[in-house]
């Protein structure tokens, strides 16, 4: 079980890396607007050919 002395710091370092990545995402402004990205997914479909124009 002495592997715990390696496993534990490794896990904590991973967690730290995760937090740092999140902080980077926040600082680069990716989470400033939580509303509009939800609306952006609507426009990405390709319309099937032969659709009537309005």
């Amino acid at each position: 079980m002495s592997v715990v002395y390696i496993a534990l710091p490794a896990v904590l370092l991973l967690a730290l890396a995760g937090v740092i990545a999140f902080v980077w995402a926040v600082r680069s402004g990716q989470l400033d607007d939580l509303e509009t990205p939800g609306m952006r997914i609507l426009g990405d479909d390709e319309e099937p050919p032969g659709d009537d124009r309005p």
């Binding site: 079980m1 715990v4 534990l8 896990v11 904590l12 967690a15 730290l16 995760g18 937090v19 999140f22 902080v23 926040v26 600082r27 989470l31 400033d32 607007d33 509303e35 509009t36 609306m39 952006r40 609507l42 426009g43 319309e47 659709d51 124009r53 309005p54």
Partner: protein, 799 residues
């Protein structure tokens, strides 16, 4: 020819009969929509219409302003409002009018496809801000602005950069705290699993101690940095002698951490780091959601710039020069052509014309102006050329002062007291006394575990679910409401709307359609079609009323001459026609017999506008025009009254017209109220009790900001929407009823959530007092109570 009302191909609203082009493939309700449609088609962006259908959003007429935006190309402009990026591009935030739908996001963000040189255009719909990144060497900003304007989104430079920066930094700080709290809680939970497993099956002391110490050290950033918000709140609460929920939260966290720390050093006894850190995480999430629901203040300067033009036609030495309005000083002489918006307050020096004062009065009926009459910034000159001498400019104009009033009223408004805050008072006392009681009792029974039980009680009684109860219920309700076209900016308004109080409604555009229509026609029917033909080319509200929905004839009217403010003359079907006010018709030589004269007096007394149609010198008919009350008004107002609200009308229109409408609907009414008066009345009412203001015009904006809750209705001016807490994107008064009923249901969900959370707390506290609260049980109960609240909020059918 058919009587069918054609729909505009851009916005879907009906096309006035006078603007129908027979035989044309496409029909539009206004030149703005036509322009928007053409630009969208030419740019290959017509998928916009399919997206809008998919999202099932109502269209709005494109509000193109036709401005040239030349001032956007000024060197100082970019340095003032934007900045250059590291790779030589420039970026700027522009405030866009009219972006209220998901399809708008798609359209605006396609700008880089249409205009080369624009690298990116991202829209933040919550703030109506478009961030444009472009290459200033190859592309002019004015071109970008004109494109956005042409598709229906006039733009203004965003002036609130400083405040937004502060808000943004605060929001980001919060998110980082949540991330740290979450990471810490998750990892401590993993360690706790090991320790609980060890408690059941045995664990070597060495590792047990290791895990306990690591848990404690890990919890430090969470307890002493992330949770600072709660300690500060608790301290503030104690200093003002009001018991806020932050007090029991802080006590629970610090007691749990403190006792766990003692036991870690002692090497024995229970530790509570897992519960405490999960608590901090969940509470922070709840707090974050709550922050986002708070009402955003309206910004006066933003609003003002959407109302007044940015350039003016200054007359210098008999020459007209276009200058920015900042260049105007009192005494400047400004030219107003037909269709121009007045850039400042002043007095007419020369010219005769009619002016649209709806900005300040709410009525779009044109008002005649001549020499020595006042002109207000933001009003639109309609028919003739005017020369005006400037008296006041910018923020000192009447509309500028109104916008400042909007900002002040919004800022001074008392914050909403939430139901949850109200019960936190006795909650704190109850928890602290029970903990004390537990300590005392157990010190007698089993002194070794006494502190354990007391600390366990403090932790499990921590209002975690309680802190989530309101924000989640409100967030879920706001989301559902948005899908029904009810856009709620300030979620805490929902609790207020769930109760009763005074509801003050604007008349024009809110209770009434906001357009003139023919209420009564006395006389020959053929005269109706004749009048329609005569009025077909004019866009005056009276003309639209007479021509919409009337049978068109095979004979168009010719030689039509408009006499501003009085009427039209022309030839129709070989007959010499006059359509206009009674005085005008008499002037033109027609005779008004006694019965018509009496009838006209009755029309005026009823608050309607009489329009006389005469052919070849003989009066053929009299039309009574008025603003029709909405079809659903009576029923909706009755339901609102049933819900317990007292109703009244407050309007800028003539007192007699308002009285007629009000009595027809069985309400109290008051007319002749200018925007300042409306704001004063609502402000005083809000100080005495709950007041909800429902309105649509710029003249309602200050009142909307002063009310406890301001509701802006469909078709409203941008400034009114910015000042209101809630915007109804569907026409009519029925959405108001839905809003009130939905708010009641939301309050019901909040109560249910509070009931559940308190229930959990009760069970947990009882177990703790009985000495049965093992940390494992606490660690399970808390997420369970939170999940219950989440499920209860998001499955509720509030809207």
């Amino acid at each position: 020819m058919s009587n069918k009302t054609l729909e505009c191909d851009h916005c879907g609203l009906p096309v006035p009969a006078g603007l129908v082009e027979p035989g044309a493939e496409r029909q539009f309700c206004c030149s703005g929509c036509r322009l928007a449609f053409d630009v969208i088609q030419d740019s290959g962006l017509d998928q916009f219409y399919r997206i809008r259908e998919r999202v099932d959003e109502p269209g709005r007429p494109a509000a193109s302003s036709g401005r040239r935006y030349q001032e956007f190309d000024d060197a100082s402009f970019v340095s003032l409002y934007g900045r250059t990026t590291s790779d030589g591009l420039a970026t700027i935030d522009l405030y866009l009018e009219g972006v209220h739908c998901a399809a708008c996001v798609w359209l605006v963000e396609r700008t880089p496809i249409v205009i080369s040189g624009v690298a990116e255009c991202r829209l933040d719909i919550g703030r109506s801000l478009a961030t444009v990144v472009w290459n200033p060497d190859t592309t002019k900003l004015s071109e970008v602005a004109r494109f956005l304007d042409s598709i229906g989104y006039p733009c203004h430079p965003f002036r609130g950069a400083a405040t937004r920066e502060i808000e943004r930094r605060a929001d980001r700080g919060f998110l980082i705290r949540i991330a740290v709290a979450g990471a810490v809680a998750g990892n401590i939970m993993l360690l706790a699993f090991a320790l609980y497993g060890g408690a059941f099956h045995g664990i070597e002391t060495e590792y047990e101690q290791l895990f306990r110490w690591v848990s404690m050290v890990l919890s430090l950033p969470s307890v002493f940095w992330c949770a600072n918000i709660f300690y500060r709140g608790a301290w503030g609460s104690l200093r003002t002698r009001t018991l806020h929920m932050d007090v029991p939260i802080s006590v629970g966290i610090l007691a749990g951490f403190g006792w766990g720390w003692v036991n870690t050093i002692r090497g024995q006894g229970e530790i509570y780091f897992d519960s405490v850190t999960v608590l901090i995480f969940l509470l922070l999430v709840g707090r974050f959601v709550q922050r986002r629901q708070q009402r955003s203040a309206a910004r006066a300067t933003e609003l003002l710039f959407s109302l007044a033009p940015t350039v003016a036609r200054l007359i210098v030495d008999d020459e007209v020069r276009e200058v920015p309005i900042q260049a105007l000083v009192p005494g400047s002489l400004v030219e107003l052509r037909a269709g121009d918006t007045a850039p400042a307050d002043g007095v007419v020096q020369d010219g005769v014309s009619t002016v649209d004062r709806s900005l300040l009065t709410g009525e779009s009926r044109p008002v005649e102006v001549t020499i020595d009459d006042p002109v207000h910034a933001g009003t639109v000159n309609l028919s003739g050329r005017l020369l005006m001498a400037v008296r006041t400019t910018g923020e000192n104009t009447r509309v500028g002062r109104l916008m400042r009033m909007v900002e002040e009223n919004a800022r001074r408004r008392a914050p909403v007291v939430r139901l949850a805050d109200r019960i936190s008072g006795w909650f704190v006392l109850a928890v602290l006394s029970l903990a004390l009681a537990t300590l005392i009792i157990w010190l007698r029974l089993d002194p070794e575990h006494a502190v354990d039980h007391a600390v366990a009680l403090l932790i499990v009684s921590c209002p975690c679910a309680l802190g989530l109860a309101t924000p989640l219920a409100v967030a879920a309700a706001v989301g559902r409401a948005a899908r029904r076209g009810i856009l709620i900016k300030g979620g805490d308004a929902l609790e207020e709307l769930a109760r009763t109080g005074r509801m003050i409604l604007d008349k024009t555009g809110t209770i009434t359609e906001g357009r003139m229509a023919v209420a009564q026609w006395t006389g020959d029917e053929w005269a109706r079609s004749a009048a329609a033909e005569m009025e077909a080319q004019s866009s005056h509200p009276i003309a639209l009323a007479l021509s919409t929905g009337s049978h068109m004839t095979p004979h168009p009217a010719v030689e039509v001459m408009a006499h501003p403010g009085r009427g039209l003359t022309g030839i129709w079907n070989g007959r010499s026609m006059v359509v206009g006010s009674p005085a005008f018709v008499v002037e033109q030589g027609a005779q008004l017999n006694q019965s018509f004269q009496t009838h006209i007096l009755e029309v005026v007394k009823a608050g309607l506008t009489p329009v006389v149609v005469a052919a070849d010198g003989e009066v053929a008919a009299v039309a009574a025009l008025g603003d029709k009350v909405r079809d659903d008004a009576a029923a909706s107002l009755e339901r609102i009254r049933d819900l317990g609200w007292s109703l009244e009308v407050l309007s800028g229109d003539h007192p007699s017209t308002v009285a007629t409408v009000a009595s027809g609907l069985n309400l109290d009414g008051r007319g002749g109220a200018d925007p300042e008066f409306k704001a004063e009345l609502v402000k005083r009412a809000a100080a005495e009790g709950r007041v909800v203001m429902v309105g649509d015009g710029v003249n309602d904006a200050a009142a909307l900001a002063a009310a406890t809750v301001g509701v802006g209705v469909h078709g409203g001016a941008e400034a009114a929407l910015a000042a209101a807490d809630i915007y109804l994107s569907r026409p009519g008064l029925n959405p108001v009823v839905e809003l009130l009923e939905g708010s009641r249901r939301t309050l019901g969900v909040i109560r249910r959530n509070l009931f559940f959370s308190l229930g959990y707390n009760l069970v947990a506290v009882s177990m703790a007092m009985a000495g049965l609260m093992h940390p494992l049980v606490a660690a399970i109960l808390m997420p369970l109570s939170s999940i219950t609240v989440v499920v209860s909020s998001y499955r509720a059918k509030t809207f």
